[in-house]
């Protein structure tokens, strides 16, 4: 693809006080590409995602979404975030709203979509993630897997061009992981651009177009899953893979 990348990291540095958390990161994610980020705890994976929608500010370099720098003074951060869906490890559903209301809140408040239209769209999205019958349920009446699927539907309701997933199955009971990964797989098949931080190596291998290994704030190695898992180039990658397999 010769187009502008969907997401582009260009010499990105991120510090928390003295701690250098992202070190001169260069990375390009093409349209419709699914990039899976793996790496040991504390390597900066979450931070990398959170910088994309400016939940964290970077100190140096530039991140571009479809060619536009996110720190450009003309960029309205709320507009920017509407184009970037994010799903969290801890779901973060709004407990005082039903599944449907969780999904329709942002479209009605931010986009000014009429309530009836948002409701219709919300029901369709819940249907798509397999929760058509749970629209009126409150989050605490849903299982973790169901909650996470609602969270995905909620992010999709803003019709984003990129989706960020930060260890979205890590808080789930093992038997609930599959249903969430299934939704993500469908999304990938439909051509969504995705940045996925996960420990699910099976998912990385099957769904990922490219694997990115991070360690200590650096991108250590990146490559297509077959090559990365079969013939890792760096010692760090070999070491990491021997530990997770």
């Amino acid at each position: 693809m010769s187009n502008v990348p969907a997401v582009e990291f260009d010499g990105v540095d991120k510090y928390f006080g003295e701690t250098h958390v992202l070190k001169d990161i260069d990375l390009e994610i093409e349209e419709q590409e699914v990039v899976v980020i793996i790496g040991p705890s504390g390597s900066g994976k979450s931070t990398l995602l959170r910088c994309v929608n400016r939940l964290e500010e970077i100190q140096d370099g530039e991140i571009r979404i479809q060619g536009t720098a996110i720190t450009d003074p003309d960029v309205d951060v709320n507009r920017l975030r509407q184009r970037i869906g994010m799903v969290f490890q801890s779901f973060n559903l709004f407990p005082h709203k039903t599944a449907l209301e969780n999904v329709t809140l942002a479209p009605t408040k931010v986009r000014g979509v009429p309530k009836s239209e948002a409701t219709e769209q919300g029901r369709d999205l819940l249907e798509e993630v397999g929760l058509g019958d749970q629209a009126e349920s409150y989050p605490n009446q849903l299982s973790g897997g169901q909650q996470q699927r609602v969270a995905i539907a909620r992010a999709l309701a803003m019709d984003p061009s990129v989706m960020l997933f930060d260890e979205v199955t890590s808080a789930l009971d093992p038997e609930l992981v599959g249903e969430v990964l299934g939704v993500m797989r469908t999304l990938a098949d439909e051509g969504m651009t995705m940045l996925v931080v996960t420990h699910e190596m099976g998912f990385a291998r099957e769904v990922g177009d490219r694997i990115v290994l991070m360690a200590d704030g650096n991108v250590i190695e990146t490559g297509p899953p077959e090559e990365f898992f079969q013939n890792p180039e760096t010692d760090r990658a070999k070491q990491f893979l021997s530990r997770v397999n």
Partner: protein, 279 residues
Amino acid sequence: MAGTYSDETTVEEPQTDNGLLTDRRVKWFGIAVAGLFTSAVLYLLYRILTDFVDYELMQAVFPRFVDAYVLVLQIFIISSVLSLIAGTLVGLGRVSRTRFTRSIATGYVEFFRGTPLLFQLFIIYLGIPAFWRSSPQPFPIENWSFAAAVIGLTLNHAAYSGEAIKGGITAVPDGQMEAARSLGMSYIDSMREVILPQAARNALAALGNDQVILVKDTSLLTVIAVREIMSVFRNVNSNTFDAWTPIVLVALAYLAITLPLGKIVRYLERRSAWGEGHE
């Protein structure tokens, strides 16, 4: 209901040696004390209502208590609504990321919680009209005691409810704000739609408490010439030397505000169960 500690669920006698304080004895002691208390209260009530209350006097002064009741209810409702609105702003100020805003909110709370309400009422009631003393125009507000009462109670209780709301906001997990913001919602929309409803639920018990205190604080308004319930009591008492007749009316008047208030708080608690409760 879940969440209450019912005696029925305890398993037989405890194995551990509690000496005299076995579960069964504690239970019967509680019943005995409650029973004694109830008998004493009922007996006193009976004596008061039969021997001490002067029903003719009660009829005669009843309209004055009704007037005072209506006045207090008005002042309470207006101050309650205003103090909850102002308190929300104070609470938002207390959690503001802007240092200036935060310190102003903190200073506000420190002053209004750190000085007596009585003193604050005087500041407003006497202090504000003093600005007009040197001017040719007369002080423009006609029923100044009423207005001063509302202003004083609002400012004072905005500090208390502000602290309650601040606590409620702080107890909402950070992930809620992050989720709302990551959907593209503005800070204020996120606050209004996501954080504050949860904060209000967290703060409900504290806010309810404070509203009850607000009702009782109206008894201080007599010092700024508001003809509230206690001032009618004192008036009746000093004219007739009857104690129990006005006492009964005072008790009824306050309970006629605080009991429904408690009901409203419990209703709101149930309504914000969000799928948790049994309803």
